[in-house]
């Protein structure tokens, strides 16, 4: 049972490799004059248009409201750091899985990886949201269109982190994309691995004298 859990723990983090090929997040912008909506796919290493010229066309529209052009990979440290972080987490997860397989570490390490990954994920989302707030509100004071809310405050063009908002003539929808779903599946597998490992552990812990020593080494 611990072997099966470990195999799951090895496979789970590998799903994060999908982030190198598939977008993490997707933001679509549709409007009456854009029956085929413009869209951007956010990868861990940069932003690409859903169609070839979407980024150029989104930037073209954004210039009216004074928004900066969308960042190129070299414009943000995140795009060079994230691939390393993901790579590191995949390597770490697989290593833990292998050690679990050969019974060098216990199932609690599986949970440890999951918690670390979740923290990194939340930090990533926080960073992503901060970036969108910055782009959506930190606008050129000489913008062509300066729109204000009813209370006189400037309109924010921050896209939603999750879900849909109406922004001027645009319907903006922001949702996790294939890469994020793969990551989610992979992380769920590590959770399952944890519970499987835990289930396998309990009866054995009563019968085996060797195992608790290993827990000690784990806890050090």
């Amino acid at each position: 049972m611990m072997k099966k859990a470990s195999i799951l723990m090895i496979i789970g983090p590998l799903f994060l490799l999908g982030l190198y090929f598939f977008p993490l997040w997707n933001i679509m912008l549709g409007a009456p004059q854009y029956p085929e909506p413009l869209g951007m796919n956010i990868y861990i290493d940069g932003i690409k248009g859903v169609s070839e010229f979407d980024i150029q066309n989104i930037d073209g529209l954004n210039h009216y409201i004074g928004m900066r052009t969308l960042p190129k990979p070299e414009d943000m440290w995140e795009f060079s750091t994230f691939p390393w972080v993901i790579g590191g987490m995949v390597a770490l997860g697989v290593l833990i899985g292998l050690l679990g397989f050969f019974e060098k570490v216990s199932y609690t390490w599986f949970m440890g990886w999951f918690v670390l990954m979740s923290i990194l994920g939340v930090l990533g989302m926080y960073d992503f949201n901060a970036w969108m707030v910055d782009y959506g509100t930190n606008l050129d004071p000489n913008a062509i269109m300066k729109l204000t809310n009813a209370d006189g405050t400037p309109v924010s063009y921050k896209p939603p982190l999750f879900g849909h908002v109406k922004m001027l003539n645009f319907d903006v929808t922001s949702l996790p994309s294939t890469g994020a779903w793969l990551m989610f599946v992979g992380m769920m597998m590590t959770i399952i691995a944890f519970f499987m490992g835990k289930k396998a552990w309990q009866p054995k812990s009563k019968t085996s004298a060797v195992r608790p020593i290993k827990i000690k080494t784990n806890d050090k």
Binding site: F53, Q56, N57, G60
Partner: protein, 650 residues
């Protein structure tokens, strides 16, 4: 009084019977839908078919949808078109070059869509210029004219521009015979001296490039219309003739004397082989070949100095005449390639020749003499049948996919449906009025799409709200999916449509280009990045490298221009978004605006005549800030010393 009541009763009775008769005629059962439903394409929906209607004397080609009859675009071909700047911009002026110089107009008659194995393939559409003989090729991905070749030794390029079933050739026949080569001679020496040239222009399969391979020099008749053999008759081409009398004056009488003229059957494969083996005569000539390159966005004109002519009597078996009554006009070939339909335009009947019988008659040498050394086949030996139409003045025939033919009758103003093979008339419907050509999508191919027929008329009169003496021509759409034709729509066209071509929408819609790629723009004066925008002087020529993006020109302030300069505005549209052109014009512009598509470069030549500060602006409402899309050019006296300078946002 009793009698009166009786009469009223009878009248009422009659009325009821008549009404019920009418009702039973108007409905074909409970499921038949109304005409309005059949042509109604709801907002946001798209049509089933593209229809390309020739514009006749507009010189252009118009694009419509079927069954809605909505016009989508006018494609400039032979005429200057201020809407886009075609024929005005520096890039497109060469497209209208001819051996007569710049000819900014023509009379466009017969569109034909390219085919593979006798079926529409939707790569290109070919059209003819009737007046200054030219053939044009229009791309069906950009819907723009890509190539125009002038046809030498031709006059009234009317039996054109029909293609062979694998688009090997686009064929162009002369309507008016002329001296070949042209020379100073008395008109009344026409007979026996004038020639009719039938031109075979090859189409390169990869890029569509046209090349005049050879011209067959025929007796001096009028070659009116033509169509290719298909299927078993592939390799032959059929031309109707009139004026076999060879009259040069008062043709309406003098050219109507012979009871029969001919359909000329040309075995082009034989002539092609003859030319390939070195046959034919190279004759000095001078004709323009104009090519528009999609990557440089620029047209170039080259004069060609030679043409290969062929005397068909020197190529045995290459040419026969099929006697056809009453000055035939239309010359149409059915989808199987077996029947050649000759419409004697002064006749009530339609003459149908059989290809198999023609081959047998040639084999059996069933000749009735000859004309200028060309064998005339015996009429009875080649005749497949006659359609006793009951109409008058047949002109053109198209076919559906169920073995029916549809012939227009100009004089009796109707479309007559008949069965190919039995020659039995099955239906007739009036047209409004005096119909010329008709079109069924693919109706001139091996694979027609027999759902709608469009009848294009010469006379409009009371069909629409009156617009003074001049009115657009009317066209009617009939549903031909059932046994009887049903008139479902009536719409005005543009110019004078002659022939048309149509195809299913999905053949073209997905290939239709949305933008030109800026990174593929190889225009000599392109401004690829906004940093490349600049102004250069070369003597009195000034070249302005200008770019556009919503919603400004770069640069938009230019100084140092002088009166007498030739100022070339080379505008590159940096948009890479579908349907976002920018226009350009400047005060006093003596040509037209130019409309620049995304990724494209176009050039407008301006010759400032007055000192001052002159504005230019974007002519296409491109964006919310379109009205702000403007700039100024300072024009100084010819002898001033102001340096060139340019800027944006300074």
């Amino acid at each position: 009084m009793k009698n009166l009541n009786y009469i009223i009763c009878i009248l009422f009775g009659l009325g009821i019977t008549l009404n019920s008769c009418n009702q039973s005629q108007n409905t074909n059962g409970a499921l038949s839908s109304s005409a309005a439903e059949k042509v109604y394409v709801a907002p946001g929906e798209q049509d089933e078919y593209y229809a390309f209607l020739s514009g006749g004397y507009s010189g252009n080609l118009t694009v419509y949808g079927l069954p809605s009859g909505r016009m989508f675009k006018e494609i400039p071909v032979f005429s200057q078109f201020p809407t886009s700047g075609y024929g005005y911009s520096e890039e497109t002026k060469p497209m209208l070059n001819t051996s007569f110089g710049f000819v900014p107009w023509d009379d466009l008659h017969h569109p034909d869509i390219s085919q593979t194995n006798g079926e529409l393939d939707g790569r290109w559409i070919f059209v003819n210029g009737n007046n200054t003989p030219r053939i044009a090729r229009v791309s069906l991905s950009t819907f723009e004219t890509e190539e125009i070749i002038e046809v030498p030794n031709s006059a009234g390029n009317h039996s054109s521009s029909f293609i062979t079933e694998n688009t090997e050739y686009v064929v162009a026949g002369t309507r008016f015979s002329v001296p070949v080569p042209q020379r100073d001679m008395p008109i009344n020496e026409y007979k026996g001296n004038f020639k009719g040239a039938l031109s075979f222009i090859s189409v390169a399969p990869d890029n569509g490039r046209l090349n005049l391979e050879f011209q067959v020099l025929m007796p001096g008749f009028n070659y009116d219309l033509s169509h290719p053999g298909r299927g078993k008759s592939h390799g032959w081409f059929f031309f109707s003739t009139y004026n076999t009398e060879e009259a040069s004056s008062l043709l309406e009488v003098m050219a109507s004397q012979n009871d029969k003229d001919f359909i000329a059957a040309v075995n082009w494969k034989k002539i092609e082989e003859y030319v390939k083996n070195g046959g034919g005569t190279k004759m000095p000539a001078n004709y323009a070949h104009n090519v528009y390159d999609e990557e440089t966005h620029t047209g170039t004109s080259t004069m060609i100095k030679e043409v290969v002519t062929v005397d068909p009597t020197k190529v045995p078996g290459s040419l026969y005449f099929l006697p056809t009554p009453k000055s035939p006009h239309g010359c149409d070939v059915d989808p199987t390639g077996e029947y050649i339909i000759g419409s004697g335009k002064l006749s009530a009947d339609i003459t149908v020749h059989s290809f198999d019988k023609m081959l047998a008659a040639i084999e059996g040498e069933k000749f009735d003499g000859e004309a200028y050394g060309i064998p005339i086949l015996n009429f009875e030996e080649v005749l497949a049948g006659t359609v006793k139409s009951g109409g008058l003045g047949p002109l053109h025939t198209e076919f559906d996919d169920k073995g029916n033919a549809y012939t227009t009758f100009f004089i009796s103003s109707e479309v007559v449906k008949w069965k190919v093979g039995t020659w039995e008339v099955v239906d007739r419907k009036p047209t409004y009025y005096s119909v010329g050509h008709l079109m069924i999508p693919g109706g001139n191919s091996r694979k027609p799409f027999g759902k709608y027929v469009v009848a294009m008329n010469k006379i409009t009169k009371d069909r629409y709200l009156p617009t003074g003496p001049e009115m657009e021509h009317s066209a009617q759409i009939y549903d031909i999916s059932g046994e009887k034709m049903e008139l479902i729509y009536d719409f005005p066209t543009h110019g004078e449509p002659h022939y048309a071509a149509g195809c299913p929408a999905d053949l073209l819609a997905s290939n239709s280009k949305k933008i030109y790629r800026l990174d593929e723009n190889k225009h000599k004066y392109a401004t690829i990045g906004p940093d490349d925008a600049r102004v250069e002087r070369d003597g009195n020529e000034v070249h302005i490298y200008m770019s556009t993006i919503r919603s400004h020109f770069t640069p938009d302030n230019i100084e140092g221009i002088k009166v007498g300069d030739k100022v070339y505005f080379h505008i590159t549209n940096h948009e890479q978004d579908f349907d976002v052109p920018h226009g350009f014009t400047i005060i006093g512009q003596g040509t037209s605006e130019i409309l620049v598509m995304p990724g494209q470069t176009k050039t407008s030549l301006w010759e400032p005549k007055k000192v001052g500060v002159w504005p230019f602006y974007c002519t296409d409402f491109c964006s919310a800030l379109h009205q702000e899309m403007q700039g100024y050019v300072r024009v100084s006296p010819a002898n001033s010393n102001i340096d060139l300078s340019w800027s944006l946002g300074e």
